[in-house]
């Protein structure tokens, strides 16, 4: 859907060639002067080398998805050129390393050879190849070179030589593309009047945790969650604050439980394999009623799966990471901004109901850099658990509902017990106790039914309801369909479990709820069906996000198949056909 008023630029090459930083820099420069942008990155699972590509989508208005067709491809080697050129739109431009010979059959793209490295060397700063690219791009997207030069001046403030070399690189790149037609004209940016951040999903989670008042972080390195650990090790310091690198995810979750028991606000972040290892500990958190926040930055699975690709396939695990009779609260942000607010909400929920809360993000969000409105911290409410302040002899678990939590060191000693227990926390096997305690634990979920949700055009019989990171492409597809006159409604929430009850009521009234999601099983659709909602998934499992056009086509295809069958009034459990459907 790349048009004249927006631009999608992809950088492809080897890890270590500056591919990742190029897209981020492009987006950072553009957002710095008032455009909107987001990046998408996919890495090889190795330290150096390996095929890597990133892209930036830039527009005058807020962007929600990475962009379907590329306007400009910057290919640093032949492999990158061959791999990505088919994604370049008709009339798009490909900037090529001189070592790459463009295919003569490639007539619908304009291929330009740019000696990135050679021009960089002329500046005396061989690492300035990215700036050569930026200089060239400034021509192609009609952005004044000064935007880039000002960025360089700020970024390298105080380092005159570096600034000079990079300015020269920008000039050389621009000069090399002198006379080339621009592929788009973004127009003058409308700089938003509000304060903004340029931030990635993982960073939004980390800063959200900071705002929520995190005291204790423990985590084990795993892609793509590691940046949260690194952030916490650096920044979670000061009186009463602790960040520890664990020896395993089992140590992470159980260490977290010790800290939560001791009265601290706690969080760990991991990805699928580590999340599974935490299962038993998360069950203990539910059983002993200890607040903890567990972040699962989803990646392709199972096992090591696709550690550097995106997928939404841990929903079932998040709802039931443990064995036994339990249902986890799950919050799944779908944008970088929601990563911040969703994390604060996860802490608030954990503190409020005294138990574990799962925060599901995903690779594409974690590594997405984007401009977002700066949160007004004074308006972001932070909650803390009810603390017991009475005398000794307290029966912490005796009531049939939430009760204040004693803190070790103060009166009110009890046993936090993973075995079924009585009011004090001592082990018991009495049937009546298990009934009472099971109902007590589930009753606390009621305290979390305050989540908000988005809804539009609610009178339509068919709804589109994405979750997590598929929100962006689904929303773009919804807008396009609506513009075409297709009558569908829009539903969305980050509060997956418990889902806002009014939202569930409204979805129950629909003939069909279509759920775009990145997994084979159609996990969210299955979850919705368990609540009686007539939901079907539109799935994709490539390790990449949805493309807006493809998604829109598949939604239309499904709608027309419903129409042919005289409405979508088939009952649950009937055999459903169509490639979009996974029953």
């Amino acid at each position: 859907m790349a048009g004249r008023n927006e631009i999608v630029v992809r950088f492809a090459g080897e890890g270590g060639q500056g591919v990742v930083t190029a897209a981020e820099m492009m987006a950072r420069v553009a957002t710095g002067v008032g455009y909107h942008a987001l990046t998408f990155a996919t890495f090889p699972s190795q330290i150096l080398g390996g095929p890597t590509w990133t892209q930036a989508r830039i527009a005058k208005i807020p962007v929600r998805s990475p962009g379907d067709a590329i306007d400009i491809l910057v290919a640093f080697n032949d492999e990158a050129y061959q791999e990505h050129r088919s994604d370049v739109r008709e009339g798009g431009v490909i900037l090529l390393d001189p070592a790459v010979t463009p295919d003569t059959s490639d007539s619908h793209h304009h291929c330009i050879s740019v000696p990135f490295d050679e021009l960089a060397k002329q500046t005396g700063e061989s690492r300035a190849a990215n700036m050569v690219v930026m200089g060239g791009l400034s021509r192609l997207v009609n952005m004044p070179l000064d935007f880039f030069k000002d960025f360089v001046t700020n970024r390298f403030a105080g380092r005159e030589g570096v600034v000079e070399a990079n300015h020269m690189a920008l000039d050389l790149g621009a000069a090399h593309l002198e006379g080339e037609d621009a592929v788009a004209d973004l127009g003058k940016p409308d700089k938003p009047s509000y304060d903004q951040l340029f931030i990635k999903g993982n960073e939004a989670v980390a800063t959200g945790a900071m705002h929520a008042g995190i005291d204790f972080y423990i985590g084990y390195p795993i892609s793509p969650a590691t940046p949260i650990l690194v952030y916490m090790e650096r920044n979670l310091v000061g009186p009463g604050k602790t960040a520890v690198q664990a020896s395993s995810e089992i140590e992470s979750i159980t260490g977290l439980l010790g800290a939560g028991f001791a009265g601290k606000k706690t969080m760990t972040a991991t990805s699928g394999p580590g999340f599974t290892l935490m299962g038993e500990g998360i069950g203990l958190s539910w059983m002993a009623e200890i607040p903890v926040v567990v972040v699962d930055v989803q990646r392709g699975g199972p096992a090591t799966g696709l550690p550097t690709k995106t997928e939404q396939s841990d929903l079932m695990t998040a709802l039931s990471p443990a064995h036994g009779d339990a249902r986890m609260p799950v919050i799944a942000p779908g944008t970088v901004e929601e990563c911040f607010y969703g994390t604060v909400a996860a802490f608030n929920w954990a503190e409020r109901y005294q138990g574990p809360v799962m925060l599901l993000t995903e690779m594409s969000l974690a590594e997405r850099a984007q401009n977002i409105p700066k949160p007004d911290l004074a308006k972001v409410k932070v909650e803390s658990r009810k603390v017991y302040s009475g005398e000794d002899g307290y029966l912490r678990y005796d009531s049939s509902e939430l009760s204040p939590m004693p803190l070790p060191g103060s009166p009110g000693a009890y046993v936090a017990n993973g075995s079924e227990h009585d009011g004090f926390g001592d082990t018991t096997h009495l049937p009546a106790r298990h009934v009472q305690m099971t109902e007590r634990r589930f009753s606390k979920l009621k305290l979390l039914e305050d989540g908000d949700y988005e809804r539009e055009n609610t009178s339509a019989n068919v709804a589109i309801m994405p979750w997590g990171g598929s929100k962006g492409p689904a929303r773009d597809a919804y807008d396009a369909l609506t513009a075409e006159g297709v009558n569908v409604s829009w539903y969305y929430t980050i509060f997956v479990s418990p889902m806002p009850p009014e939202m569930v009521e409204e979805l129950l009234a629909k003939d069909l709820v279509l759920v775009p999601e990145l997994n084979y099983l159609g996990q969210m659709a299955s979850y919705l069906r368990s609540m009686g909602i007539k939901a079907e998934a539109i799935t994709q499992y490539t390790g990449l996000p949805f493309k807006v056009n493809e998604l829109g086509e598949r939604i239309k295809e499904r709608l027309s198949s419903s129409a042919n069958k005289n409405g979508a009034k088939q009952s649950n459990g009937t055999k459903q056909k169509g490639k979009a459907v996974k029953a």
């Binding site: 304060d195 900071m210 020896s247 260490g255 010790g258 009166p411």
Partner: protein
Amino acid sequence: MSDKNAEYDFSWCPGCGDFGVLRALELSMQERIIRTELPMVNNVVVAGIGCSGNTVHLLNGEQPYGFHGIHGRSLPIALGVKMSSPELNVVVVAGDGDFLSIGMEHIAPQAARNLNICAVVMDNGVYGLTKGQSSPTTQLETVTSSTPYGKLEKPVNPLDLYLTLGVTYIASGFSSKPKDLAALITQGMDHRGFSIVHVASPCTTYNDTYEILKGSAKKGIEGTAWAIPDSHDAGDADAARAVIHEGGMPLGVIYKDTSRPSFDQQFDGIRKRATQKSTAELLSAFDL
């Protein structure tokens, strides 16, 4: 049966060594209350799963905080408690299966950190609660329900393991001598770092080693338990290793290293060096 709660329906078998360990732990915590003038709720007892784990429910009198977690994970739970509230006295109670089999992976990291807690390991050389399977300390060729043709795996030497991993206080005790054991536990609690009190605590049902440990004058059997002489220099790792390899069951303080700072002390150092920023400041690092 716990005298505080009739609903709790667990009990150890008659003669179980764990009764002696329970008594020693009670003595040690009560002595600590008097000496430090800190209340009982300043103590947290973290237990794993198995016969040993029930210690937390069987403590008599004034109650400490307890955490009866999941199998093998008492050490990392204690890590979370201690690093959150360094002023608390954190004691781990675990069995040989809990501590040395499923929980083995957690010993090395706490030793590396010199986590300031005291672990009391009740070693009966068998999985009792699941009815008599072999454990890491079950002797070679022993017939158990899970080793019907005799145990094939070489038993671990726990004391040697602790010394190798760098545990900074290592003591060995016997459940039949609760007063001596209490003194070892008290020293372990007072030690600023990771302390382990490894206790021979026989299982009268599946692995009754009382006679082997104590000996029998009547039968002419010499006991394998022996008191470490006062002349032993616990600060000397080589001397400690010699004691461990002397054979039998040495009783007393084997090793003590007071030169290393504990993990919470090191964090105090970080907190002095690093600057804490407000959320507003942290967010501003991403300002456009």
